[in-house]
Amino acid sequence: MPQNIPVEPVHVELGRRYRFAASHRLHSTQLSEEENCRIYGKCNNPYGHGHNYTVEVRFSGVIDPATGKIASLGDLDQFVNEKVIEPFDHRSLQDEVPAFRDTVPTTENLCIEIFQRLKSFPIAKLKAVRVEETSNNSFEYAGE
């Protein structure tokens, strides 16, 4: 951090939640039909199934004294909508998102893919992506 910028007394992160609905099928081309069926169970149904996903993103940065904010919500929402919500919402993940053509669209892998798509946000630093597949299952990725 340059010398002329005062260090904030506390480390601040901005958190925002978004939602999208998508279908997926858990199926690995590296496994046999029987192994896929045994490992993924109902999630291996050839016709797929879907979830209402909640994506939580957390960004750190310096609070701009003029606006009181780390980043404008308008800018953040536009970025996340363009990078993640538009391409994922009401889609079949393995059929319509290139990253999942050869990668099983588990929510672990979804977290990593969303992190990769959002880490270039120019205004604040992406710290973590947490995805709730259902209200009972959630996954978090904070980069390597």
Binding site: M1, V10, V12, L14, G74
Partner: protein, 145 residues
């Protein structure tokens, strides 16, 4: 290390307005939040204390004590208040989620008698929140990584 979290809710009004900016700029930057009559939220505050459980009581910090600290420092100061005018610590600051969370951090950090304040998370709505942590070397390292 054990982390203990207590949640409280308070309702308050605020307005985003920077007197150094023109009327048009304020409206463009802050949109509806610049409404001269203000607006309000139900804020949810989660306060996390980190520490080792006391060998005798088994507690990191007596929740009763934490409840009293939160009542005195936060509820009495912010609940059913107009944050811009009635909370001295927010004077000359835009009362965003980030700034309110920082003020809460600074109010609470010196008042925790056992363990230490680990995180302040303030929700302005279910989909928007700010987290505060101690700005220590590990966070600095993460920043520059």
């Amino acid at each position: 290390m054990v982390y203990l979290t207590r949640k409280i809710e308070f309702a308050a009004s605020h307005r985003y307005h920077n007197p150094k900016l023109s009327v048009e700029e304020n409206r463009r930057i802050f949109g509806k939040c610049n409404n001269p009559h203000g607006h309000g939220h139900n804020y949810t505050l989660e306060v996390t204390i980190a520490g080792e459980p006391d060998p005798v009581t088994g507690m990191v910090l007596d929740l009763k004590d934490l409840k009293e600290i939160l009542e005195r420092e936060i509820m009495q100061r912010m609940d059913h208040r107009y944050l811009n005018l009635e909370v001295a610590e927010l004077k000359d600051k835009i009362p965003t989620c980030e700034n309110i969370a920082c003020v809460i951090w600074n109010l609470l950090a010196p008042k925790i008698p056992q363990g230490h304040l680990h995180r302040v998370r303030l929700y302005e709505s279910a989909d928007l929140f700010a987290d505060c942590y101690r700005n220590d070397a590990s966070n600095d390292a993460k920043e520059t990584a």
